[in-house]
Protein backbone atom coordinates (compact mmCIF):
# COMPACT_ATOMS: atom_id res chain seq x y z
CA UNK A 1 0.00 0.00 0.00
CA UNK A 2 1.18 3.43 -0.82
CA UNK A 3 2.37 5.41 2.17
CA UNK A 4 -0.45 7.74 2.89
CA UNK A 5 1.38 10.87 3.78
CA UNK A 6 4.35 12.41 2.20
CA UNK A 7 5.97 13.08 5.54
CA UNK A 8 5.25 9.55 6.62
CA UNK A 9 3.05 10.81 9.38
CA UNK A 10 2.28 8.90 12.49
CA UNK A 11 5.58 7.25 13.24
CA UNK A 12 7.68 10.33 13.66
CA UNK A 13 4.99 12.56 15.05
CA UNK A 14 6.41 13.08 18.46
CA UNK A 15 3.90 11.36 20.64
CA UNK A 16 4.36 7.88 21.89
CA UNK A 17 2.53 6.39 24.74
CA UNK A 18 5.46 6.01 27.05
CA UNK A 19 7.42 9.11 26.35
CA UNK A 20 5.08 11.98 25.87
CA UNK A 21 7.64 13.95 23.96
CA UNK A 22 6.70 17.54 23.81
CA UNK A 23 6.93 18.28 20.15
CA UNK A 24 4.07 19.83 18.31
CA UNK A 25 5.99 20.20 15.09
CA UNK A 26 4.36 17.16 13.55
CA UNK A 27 0.81 18.19 14.36
CA UNK A 28 -1.57 20.04 12.15
CA UNK A 29 -3.14 22.15 14.82
CA UNK A 30 -4.85 21.45 18.12
CA UNK A 31 -7.58 19.21 16.72
CA UNK A 32 -4.98 16.98 15.17
CA UNK A 33 -3.16 16.72 18.48
CA UNK A 34 -6.42 15.97 20.27
CA UNK A 35 -7.30 13.32 17.74
CA UNK A 36 -3.94 11.73 18.28
CA UNK A 37 -4.42 11.74 22.04
CA UNK A 38 -7.90 10.34 21.62
CA UNK A 39 -6.58 7.51 19.48
CA UNK A 40 -4.20 6.64 22.29
CA UNK A 41 -7.26 5.86 24.37
CA UNK A 42 -7.73 3.03 21.90
CA UNK A 43 -11.47 3.17 21.81
CA UNK A 44 -14.07 4.17 19.33
CA UNK A 45 -14.24 7.93 19.11
CA UNK A 46 -17.82 7.99 20.27
CA UNK A 47 -16.75 6.35 23.52
CA UNK A 48 -13.77 8.48 24.42
CA UNK A 49 -13.53 10.12 27.76
CA UNK A 50 -13.56 13.77 26.90
CA UNK A 51 -12.54 14.62 30.41
CA UNK A 52 -9.46 12.44 30.28
CA UNK A 53 -8.69 13.82 26.87
CA UNK A 54 -8.93 17.39 28.13
CA UNK A 55 -6.61 16.59 31.00
CA UNK A 56 -4.04 14.97 28.75
CA UNK A 57 -4.10 17.89 26.39
CA UNK A 58 -3.77 20.44 29.16
CA UNK A 59 -0.91 18.47 30.69
CA UNK A 60 0.77 18.41 27.33
CA UNK A 61 0.45 22.16 26.93
CA UNK A 62 1.63 22.82 30.48
CA UNK A 63 4.69 20.74 29.82
CA UNK A 64 5.39 22.62 26.63
CA UNK A 65 5.02 25.91 28.46
CA UNK A 66 7.26 24.81 31.27
CA UNK A 67 10.11 24.27 28.87
CA UNK A 68 9.20 27.54 27.15
CA UNK A 69 8.26 26.03 23.88
CA UNK A 70 6.72 28.55 21.54
CA UNK A 71 3.18 27.40 21.02
CA UNK A 72 0.91 28.70 18.32
CA UNK A 73 -2.09 30.62 19.56
CA UNK A 74 -4.46 27.92 18.35
CA UNK A 75 -3.01 25.42 20.80
CA UNK A 76 -3.34 27.82 23.70
CA UNK A 77 -6.88 28.76 22.90
CA UNK A 78 -7.77 25.10 22.79
CA UNK A 79 -6.14 24.60 26.17
CA UNK A 80 -8.16 27.46 27.60
CA UNK A 81 -11.33 26.07 26.15
CA UNK A 82 -10.63 22.58 27.45
CA UNK A 83 -9.89 23.95 30.90
CA UNK A 84 -13.24 25.66 30.77
CA UNK A 85 -14.87 22.46 29.54
CA UNK A 86 -13.25 20.56 32.38
CA UNK A 87 -14.65 22.94 34.95
CA UNK A 88 -18.06 22.60 33.37
CA UNK A 89 -17.88 18.84 33.54
CA UNK A 90 -16.69 18.69 37.10
CA UNK A 91 -18.64 21.44 38.78
CA UNK A 92 -22.39 21.13 38.84
CA UNK A 93 -23.96 23.90 36.89
CA UNK A 94 -25.41 26.82 38.73
CA UNK A 95 -28.87 27.88 37.95
CA UNK A 96 -28.03 31.46 37.04
CA UNK A 97 -25.34 30.36 34.63
CA UNK A 98 -27.17 29.14 31.57
CA UNK A 99 -24.14 28.54 29.39
CA UNK A 100 -23.83 25.38 27.34
CA UNK A 101 -23.60 22.39 29.60
CA UNK A 102 -20.38 20.48 29.89
CA UNK A 103 -22.08 17.59 28.17
CA UNK A 104 -23.03 19.74 25.21
CA UNK A 105 -19.55 21.13 24.91
CA UNK A 106 -18.05 17.66 25.17
CA UNK A 107 -20.24 16.21 22.48
CA UNK A 108 -19.47 19.17 20.25
CA UNK A 109 -15.81 18.37 20.66
CA UNK A 110 -16.32 14.65 20.10
CA UNK A 111 -18.29 15.46 16.96
CA UNK A 112 -15.50 17.61 15.59
CA UNK A 113 -12.94 14.92 16.29
CA UNK A 114 -15.08 12.28 14.70
CA UNK A 115 -15.71 14.43 11.66
CA UNK A 116 -12.01 15.13 11.25
CA UNK A 117 -11.19 11.47 11.60
CA UNK A 118 -13.83 10.59 9.03
CA UNK A 119 -12.21 13.00 6.58
CA UNK A 120 -8.80 11.46 7.29
CA UNK A 121 -10.19 8.03 6.51
CA UNK A 122 -11.86 9.33 3.39
CA UNK A 123 -8.58 10.88 2.28
CA UNK A 124 -6.72 7.62 2.71
CA UNK A 125 -9.36 5.66 0.85
CA UNK A 126 -9.24 8.21 -1.92
CA UNK A 127 -5.49 8.18 -2.26
CA UNK A 128 -5.38 4.39 -2.37
CA UNK A 129 -7.80 4.12 -5.24
CA UNK A 130 -6.54 3.13 -8.67
CA UNK A 131 -5.01 6.38 -9.73
CA UNK A 132 -4.43 7.65 -13.22
CA UNK A 133 -0.74 7.59 -14.02
CA UNK A 134 0.04 5.15 -11.23
CA UNK A 135 -2.31 2.19 -11.58
CA UNK A 136 -4.28 3.07 -14.64
CA UNK A 137 -2.93 4.70 -17.76
CA UNK A 138 -4.21 6.89 -20.54
CA UNK A 139 -3.42 6.55 -24.20
CA UNK A 140 0.31 7.03 -24.46
CA UNK A 141 0.31 8.44 -27.97
CA UNK A 142 -2.84 10.51 -28.28
CA UNK A 143 -3.67 11.36 -31.85
CA UNK A 144 -5.71 14.39 -31.14
CA UNK A 145 -7.06 16.66 -28.46
CA UNK A 146 -10.80 17.12 -28.53
CA UNK A 147 -11.51 20.80 -28.46
CA UNK A 148 -14.95 22.07 -27.72
CA UNK A 149 -14.81 25.11 -29.88
CA UNK A 150 -15.51 27.67 -27.23
CA UNK A 151 -12.28 29.52 -27.29
CA UNK A 152 -8.88 29.12 -28.79
CA UNK A 153 -7.39 30.21 -25.49
CA UNK A 154 -7.39 28.54 -22.19
CA UNK A 155 -7.33 30.10 -18.76
CA UNK A 156 -9.20 29.26 -15.61
CA UNK A 157 -10.82 31.64 -13.20
CA UNK A 158 -8.14 30.65 -10.73
CA UNK A 159 -5.39 31.64 -13.17
CA UNK A 160 -7.09 34.96 -13.68
CA UNK A 161 -7.66 35.73 -10.03
CA UNK A 162 -4.27 34.63 -8.84
CA UNK A 163 -2.61 36.68 -11.55
CA UNK A 164 -4.55 39.70 -10.42
CA UNK A 165 -4.05 39.10 -6.72
CA UNK A 166 -0.31 38.64 -6.98
CA UNK A 167 -0.02 41.67 -9.23
CA UNK A 168 -1.82 43.83 -6.72
CA UNK A 169 0.02 42.24 -3.85
CA UNK A 170 3.35 43.14 -5.45
CA UNK A 171 2.18 46.69 -5.72
CA UNK A 172 1.08 46.68 -2.07
CA UNK A 173 4.16 45.22 -0.41
CA UNK A 174 6.08 48.37 -1.11
CA UNK A 175 4.15 49.83 1.78
CA UNK A 176 5.00 49.50 5.43
CA UNK A 177 4.35 46.32 7.32
CA UNK A 178 3.19 46.54 10.88
CA UNK A 179 5.38 45.14 13.58
CA UNK A 180 4.06 42.06 15.31
CA UNK A 181 2.51 42.78 18.64
CA UNK A 182 4.07 41.50 21.82
CA UNK A 183 0.84 40.68 23.55
CA UNK A 184 -2.12 38.57 22.62
CA UNK A 185 -4.95 40.86 21.83
CA UNK A 186 -8.27 39.62 23.07
CA UNK A 187 -9.80 40.04 19.67
CA UNK A 188 -7.28 37.56 18.34
CA UNK A 189 -8.12 35.19 21.10
CA UNK A 190 -11.82 35.74 20.73
CA UNK A 191 -11.66 35.01 17.04
CA UNK A 192 -9.82 31.81 17.55
CA UNK A 193 -12.05 30.94 20.42
CA UNK A 194 -15.21 31.55 18.47
CA UNK A 195 -13.84 29.27 15.81
CA UNK A 196 -13.32 26.55 18.34
CA UNK A 197 -16.49 26.86 20.30
CA UNK A 198 -18.96 28.07 17.77
CA UNK A 199 -21.44 30.57 19.04
CA UNK A 200 -21.53 31.42 22.68
CA UNK A 201 -25.20 32.05 22.97
CA UNK A 202 -25.26 31.95 26.72
CA UNK A 203 -23.26 33.73 29.38
CA UNK A 204 -19.87 32.11 29.61
CA UNK A 205 -17.02 32.88 31.96
CA UNK A 206 -14.02 32.47 29.77
CA UNK A 207 -11.58 35.20 30.60
CA UNK A 208 -10.17 33.35 33.49
CA UNK A 209 -9.16 30.46 31.27
CA UNK A 210 -8.05 32.63 28.44
CA UNK A 211 -5.71 34.70 30.55
CA UNK A 212 -4.24 31.68 32.17
CA UNK A 213 -3.32 30.03 28.94
CA UNK A 214 -2.77 32.89 26.65
CA UNK A 215 -0.16 34.78 28.61
CA UNK A 216 2.89 34.37 30.72
CA UNK A 217 3.12 36.12 34.10
CA UNK A 218 5.15 39.01 32.70
CA UNK A 219 2.67 39.88 30.06
CA UNK A 220 -0.40 39.42 32.15
CA UNK A 221 -0.96 43.06 33.06
CA UNK A 222 -0.67 44.31 29.51
CA UNK A 223 -2.70 41.39 28.29
CA UNK A 224 -5.54 42.25 30.67
CA UNK A 225 -5.46 45.86 29.56
CA UNK A 226 -5.40 45.17 25.85
CA UNK A 227 -7.89 42.40 26.01
CA UNK A 228 -10.27 44.54 28.02
CA UNK A 229 -10.01 47.24 25.41
CA UNK A 230 -10.53 44.73 22.65
CA UNK A 231 -13.58 43.27 24.28
CA UNK A 232 -15.10 46.74 24.76
CA UNK A 233 -14.54 47.31 21.08
CA UNK A 234 -16.36 44.12 20.30
CA UNK A 235 -19.21 45.10 22.59
CA UNK A 236 -19.49 48.39 20.75
CA UNK A 237 -19.76 46.49 17.48
CA UNK A 238 -22.48 44.38 19.00
CA UNK A 239 -20.44 41.22 18.62
CA UNK A 240 -20.29 40.57 22.32
CA UNK A 241 -22.02 41.30 25.60
CA UNK A 242 -20.19 41.45 28.89
CA UNK A 243 -21.47 40.94 32.42
CA UNK A 244 -19.75 41.10 35.75
CA UNK A 245 -21.63 40.62 38.97
CA UNK A 246 -19.20 42.43 41.24
CA UNK A 247 -15.68 43.66 41.54
CA UNK A 248 -13.14 40.89 40.87
CA UNK A 249 -15.82 38.36 40.12
CA UNK A 250 -15.65 36.46 36.85
CA UNK A 251 -16.41 38.29 33.67
CA UNK A 252 -19.11 36.61 31.66
CA UNK A 253 -19.30 36.90 27.92
CA UNK A 254 -21.88 36.01 25.38
CA UNK A 255 -22.74 36.63 21.80
CA UNK A 256 -24.07 40.10 21.12
CA UNK A 257 -27.03 41.15 18.97
CA UNK A 258 -24.75 41.28 15.94
CA UNK A 259 -22.85 38.04 16.26
CA UNK A 260 -19.78 36.98 14.36
CA UNK A 261 -20.64 34.73 11.49
CA UNK A 262 -18.19 32.20 10.22
CA UNK A 263 -17.59 34.38 7.20
CA UNK A 264 -16.91 37.57 9.12
CA UNK A 265 -14.62 35.50 11.24
CA UNK A 266 -12.76 34.28 8.21
CA UNK A 267 -12.34 37.81 6.96
CA UNK A 268 -11.06 39.03 10.28
CA UNK A 269 -8.65 36.16 10.47
CA UNK A 270 -7.43 36.81 6.99
CA UNK A 271 -6.70 40.38 8.02
CA UNK A 272 -5.04 39.38 11.23
CA UNK A 273 -1.54 38.46 10.23
Amino acid sequence: MDPLWQDDGATDRGLHEEALVVDIAGFEGPLDLLLHLARNQRVDLSRISVLALAEQYIAFIERARSIRLELAADYLVMAAWLAFLKSRLLIPQQAKDEGPSGEEMASALAFRLKRLEAMRDAASRLVNRNRLGRDVFARGAPEHIPVEKKSAFEASLYDLLSAYASLRQREAVMQVTIEKRQVWSLSDARLLLARLVGDMVEWTALDHFLLRYMTGPKERATAIASSFAASLEMVREGRLEIRQDGAFSPIYLRQGPNPLTAEILAEMEAGRD
Binding site: Q6, E28, R112, A118, R129, G133, G140, A262, A266, E269
Partner: protein
Protein backbone atom coordinates in the same frame (compact mmCIF):
# COMPACT_ATOMS: atom_id res chain seq x y z
CA UNK B 1 -16.50 20.89 -42.39
CA UNK B 2 -18.45 18.24 -44.18
CA UNK B 3 -21.46 16.74 -42.59
CA UNK B 4 -20.52 13.25 -41.49
CA UNK B 5 -24.01 12.15 -42.27
CA UNK B 6 -23.29 12.32 -45.98
CA UNK B 7 -19.97 10.63 -45.76
CA UNK B 8 -21.04 7.43 -44.21
CA UNK B 9 -22.88 4.63 -45.84
CA UNK B 10 -26.12 3.30 -44.45
CA UNK B 11 -26.91 6.45 -42.55
CA UNK B 12 -29.96 7.53 -44.41
CA UNK B 13 -32.65 8.90 -42.21
CA UNK B 14 -35.65 6.68 -41.77
CA UNK B 15 -37.92 9.01 -43.77
CA UNK B 16 -36.41 7.69 -46.95
CA UNK B 17 -37.93 4.37 -46.24
CA UNK B 18 -41.24 6.15 -46.18
CA UNK B 19 -43.01 7.48 -43.11
CA UNK B 20 -42.24 10.62 -41.15
CA UNK B 21 -41.31 8.68 -38.04
CA UNK B 22 -38.32 9.57 -35.94
CA UNK B 23 -34.98 8.91 -37.49
CA UNK B 24 -33.17 5.83 -36.37
CA UNK B 25 -29.99 4.26 -37.56
CA UNK B 26 -30.07 0.88 -39.14
CA UNK B 27 -27.78 -1.78 -37.81
CA UNK B 28 -24.96 -1.03 -40.16
CA UNK B 29 -25.12 2.68 -39.46
CA UNK B 30 -25.15 2.00 -35.77
CA UNK B 31 -22.01 -0.07 -36.17
CA UNK B 32 -20.38 2.82 -38.01
CA UNK B 33 -21.42 5.23 -35.27
CA UNK B 34 -19.85 2.92 -32.75
CA UNK B 35 -16.59 2.88 -34.68
CA UNK B 36 -16.55 6.66 -34.84
CA UNK B 37 -17.22 7.03 -31.12
CA UNK B 38 -14.53 4.48 -30.40
CA UNK B 39 -12.01 6.27 -32.61
CA UNK B 40 -12.80 9.66 -31.07
CA UNK B 41 -12.33 8.51 -27.51
CA UNK B 42 -9.40 6.23 -28.28
CA UNK B 43 -7.50 8.99 -30.03
CA UNK B 44 -7.56 11.24 -27.01
CA UNK B 45 -5.70 10.97 -23.74
CA UNK B 46 -8.28 13.19 -22.04
CA UNK B 47 -11.88 12.24 -21.47
CA UNK B 48 -14.11 13.21 -24.39
CA UNK B 49 -17.54 14.71 -23.78
CA UNK B 50 -20.75 13.13 -24.99
CA UNK B 51 -21.66 16.37 -26.72
CA UNK B 52 -18.41 16.30 -28.60
CA UNK B 53 -19.06 12.74 -29.68
CA UNK B 54 -22.69 13.42 -30.54
CA UNK B 55 -21.71 16.34 -32.75
CA UNK B 56 -19.59 13.99 -34.84
CA UNK B 57 -22.09 11.17 -35.13
CA UNK B 58 -24.92 11.02 -37.63
CA UNK B 59 -28.10 12.59 -36.39
CA UNK B 60 -30.31 10.14 -34.59
CA UNK B 61 -27.42 8.29 -32.99
CA UNK B 62 -28.18 7.27 -29.44
CA UNK B 63 -24.88 8.22 -27.82
CA UNK B 64 -25.52 6.79 -24.35
CA UNK B 65 -26.55 3.48 -25.86
CA UNK B 66 -23.55 3.37 -28.15
CA UNK B 67 -21.20 4.15 -25.30
CA UNK B 68 -22.79 1.54 -23.06
CA UNK B 69 -22.32 -1.07 -25.77
CA UNK B 70 -18.71 -0.08 -26.30
CA UNK B 71 -18.12 -0.18 -22.59
CA UNK B 72 -19.35 -3.76 -22.30
CA UNK B 73 -17.35 -4.70 -25.38
CA UNK B 74 -14.17 -3.62 -23.64
CA UNK B 75 -15.09 -4.92 -20.19
CA UNK B 76 -12.85 -7.99 -20.46
CA UNK B 77 -10.05 -6.38 -22.40
CA UNK B 78 -6.72 -4.94 -21.32
CA UNK B 79 -8.11 -1.48 -21.96
CA UNK B 80 -11.39 -0.32 -20.44
CA UNK B 81 -13.84 2.36 -21.47
CA UNK B 82 -14.63 4.49 -18.44
CA UNK B 83 -17.17 7.19 -17.81
CA UNK B 84 -16.07 10.38 -16.07
CA UNK B 85 -19.02 12.67 -15.41
CA UNK B 86 -20.50 13.09 -18.92
CA UNK B 87 -17.19 12.29 -20.55
CA UNK B 88 -15.62 9.05 -21.73
CA UNK B 89 -12.06 7.80 -21.71
CA UNK B 90 -10.10 4.64 -22.46
CA UNK B 91 -7.81 3.57 -19.63
CA UNK B 92 -5.71 0.48 -19.06
CA UNK B 93 -7.35 -2.13 -16.84
CA UNK B 94 -6.43 -1.57 -13.20
CA UNK B 95 -5.48 -5.21 -12.64
CA UNK B 96 -2.68 -4.84 -15.16
CA UNK B 97 -1.02 -1.91 -13.42
CA UNK B 98 1.95 -4.04 -12.40
CA UNK B 99 2.96 -4.69 -16.02
CA UNK B 100 2.18 -1.29 -17.43
CA UNK B 101 3.92 0.68 -14.68
CA UNK B 102 7.33 1.98 -15.53
CA UNK B 103 9.79 3.88 -13.42
CA UNK B 104 9.03 7.02 -15.34
CA UNK B 105 5.45 7.42 -14.33
CA UNK B 106 5.40 9.22 -11.02
CA UNK B 107 2.23 10.36 -9.43
CA UNK B 108 2.28 13.63 -7.60
CA UNK B 109 2.72 13.04 -3.88
CA UNK B 110 0.45 15.17 -1.82
CA UNK B 111 1.28 16.51 1.60
CA UNK B 112 -0.88 15.37 4.45
CA UNK B 113 -2.52 18.77 4.67
CA UNK B 114 -3.23 18.93 0.95
CA UNK B 115 -4.76 15.49 0.94
CA UNK B 116 -6.97 16.36 3.86
CA UNK B 117 -8.12 19.59 2.26
CA UNK B 118 -8.79 17.73 -0.98
CA UNK B 119 -10.92 15.15 0.80
CA UNK B 120 -12.86 17.84 2.64
CA UNK B 121 -13.50 19.72 -0.59
CA UNK B 122 -14.56 16.51 -2.35
CA UNK B 123 -16.98 15.37 0.33
CA UNK B 124 -18.32 18.73 1.46
CA UNK B 125 -18.51 20.68 -1.77
CA UNK B 126 -19.42 23.41 -2.34
CA UNK B 127 -17.41 24.43 0.67
CA UNK B 128 -15.84 27.71 1.75
CA UNK B 129 -12.38 28.12 3.14
CA UNK B 130 -13.82 29.04 6.52
CA UNK B 131 -15.69 25.73 6.60
CA UNK B 132 -12.57 23.77 5.66
CA UNK B 133 -10.75 25.45 8.51
CA UNK B 134 -13.58 24.70 10.88
CA UNK B 135 -13.30 21.01 10.08
CA UNK B 136 -9.53 20.85 10.33
CA UNK B 137 -9.19 23.30 13.20
CA UNK B 138 -6.27 25.08 11.56
CA UNK B 139 -5.76 27.73 8.97
CA UNK B 140 -5.17 26.53 5.44
CA UNK B 141 -2.05 27.86 3.84
CA UNK B 142 -2.25 29.42 0.43
CA UNK B 143 0.31 26.89 -0.77
CA UNK B 144 -2.04 24.01 -0.04
CA UNK B 145 -4.84 25.45 -2.13
CA UNK B 146 -2.34 26.34 -4.85
CA UNK B 147 -1.02 22.80 -5.07
CA UNK B 148 -4.53 21.43 -5.51
CA UNK B 149 -5.44 24.11 -8.03
CA UNK B 150 -2.31 23.46 -10.03
CA UNK B 151 -2.96 19.74 -10.03
CA UNK B 152 -6.26 20.71 -11.62
CA UNK B 153 -8.26 18.86 -8.99
CA UNK B 154 -10.12 21.70 -7.36
CA UNK B 155 -11.73 24.83 -8.69
CA UNK B 156 -13.73 27.80 -7.62
CA UNK B 157 -17.31 26.67 -7.81
CA UNK B 158 -19.17 29.82 -7.07
CA UNK B 159 -20.07 32.11 -4.25
CA UNK B 160 -22.19 31.33 -1.26
CA UNK B 161 -25.32 33.41 -0.96
CA UNK B 162 -24.51 34.57 2.54
CA UNK B 163 -23.15 37.87 3.78
CA UNK B 164 -19.70 38.42 2.37
CA UNK B 165 -20.54 36.09 -0.52
CA UNK B 166 -17.55 33.85 0.14
CA UNK B 167 -15.99 31.85 -2.66
CA UNK B 168 -16.78 28.15 -2.61
CA UNK B 169 -14.52 25.31 -3.73
CA UNK B 170 -15.38 22.11 -5.51
CA UNK B 171 -13.60 19.35 -7.40
CA UNK B 172 -13.05 19.10 -11.14
CA UNK B 173 -13.54 16.43 -13.78
CA UNK B 174 -9.79 15.83 -13.69
CA UNK B 175 -10.21 14.92 -10.06
CA UNK B 176 -12.78 12.26 -10.97
CA UNK B 177 -10.58 11.06 -13.80
CA UNK B 178 -7.50 10.84 -11.63
CA UNK B 179 -9.16 8.88 -8.87
CA UNK B 180 -11.17 6.69 -11.20
CA UNK B 181 -14.59 7.99 -10.17
CA UNK B 182 -17.53 8.09 -12.53
CA UNK B 183 -19.23 10.78 -10.54
CA UNK B 184 -19.09 12.36 -7.11
CA UNK B 185 -21.64 9.89 -5.83
CA UNK B 186 -18.96 7.22 -6.21
CA UNK B 187 -16.75 8.80 -3.56
CA UNK B 188 -15.91 5.99 -1.18
CA UNK B 189 -18.11 5.91 1.89
CA UNK B 190 -20.10 8.99 0.89
CA UNK B 191 -23.48 7.57 1.86
CA UNK B 192 -22.34 6.29 5.25
CA UNK B 193 -20.71 9.59 6.07
CA UNK B 194 -23.83 11.43 5.09
CA UNK B 195 -25.95 9.03 7.09
CA UNK B 196 -23.76 9.51 10.13
CA UNK B 197 -24.21 13.27 9.84
CA UNK B 198 -20.48 13.75 9.41
CA UNK B 199 -20.79 15.87 6.31
CA UNK B 200 -22.70 18.58 8.06
CA UNK B 201 -21.59 21.55 10.08
CA UNK B 202 -23.93 20.68 12.89
CA UNK B 203 -23.95 17.91 15.38
CA UNK B 204 -26.53 15.39 14.25
CA UNK B 205 -29.35 14.89 16.73
CA UNK B 206 -28.53 11.21 17.09
CA UNK B 207 -24.93 11.95 18.03
CA UNK B 208 -24.38 10.99 21.62
CA UNK B 209 -21.40 10.28 23.69
CA UNK B 210 -21.63 8.90 27.18
CA UNK B 211 -21.02 11.84 29.47
CA UNK B 212 -19.52 12.49 31.83
CA UNK B 213 -16.87 9.86 32.31
CA UNK B 214 -18.74 6.60 32.78
CA UNK B 215 -18.25 4.72 36.02
CA UNK B 216 -16.54 1.84 34.33
CA UNK B 217 -14.03 3.83 32.38
CA UNK B 218 -11.30 3.87 34.89
CA UNK B 219 -7.69 4.34 34.03
CA UNK B 220 -5.49 1.31 34.25
CA UNK B 221 -3.73 2.58 37.30
CA UNK B 222 -6.92 3.42 39.06
CA UNK B 223 -9.19 1.51 41.39
CA UNK B 224 -12.86 2.20 41.73
CA UNK B 225 -13.72 4.32 44.69
CA UNK B 226 -16.01 2.68 47.18
CA UNK B 227 -18.48 3.83 49.70
CA UNK B 228 -15.97 2.74 52.27
CA UNK B 229 -13.24 4.92 50.82
CA UNK B 230 -15.48 7.91 50.96
CA UNK B 231 -16.33 7.32 54.54
CA UNK B 232 -12.72 6.80 55.35
CA UNK B 233 -11.83 10.07 53.74
CA UNK B 234 -14.47 11.79 55.74
CA UNK B 235 -16.36 12.77 52.68
CA UNK B 236 -19.49 10.94 53.66
CA UNK B 237 -20.99 10.47 57.04
CA UNK B 238 -20.81 6.80 58.04
CA UNK B 239 -23.90 5.18 56.76
CA UNK B 240 -25.95 4.05 59.62
CA UNK B 241 -29.43 4.02 58.35
CA UNK B 242 -31.54 5.05 55.44
CA UNK B 243 -30.56 8.69 55.63
Amino acid sequence: MTDPQNDLPGMRPAEENGGAEEMRLDARAEQEAERIAEALVFASAQPVSETYIAARLPRGADVPRIMARLKSLYADRGVHLLQVADHWAFRTAADLSFVVQTDENEVRKLSRAALEVLAIIAYHQPVTRAEIEDIRGVQTSKGTIDVLMEAGWIRFRGRRRTPGRPVTFGTTRDFLDHFGLEELRDLPGLEELKGAGLLSGRIPSNFHIPMPLGDDDLGEDEDPITQLDLEELGLLAPSGGDE
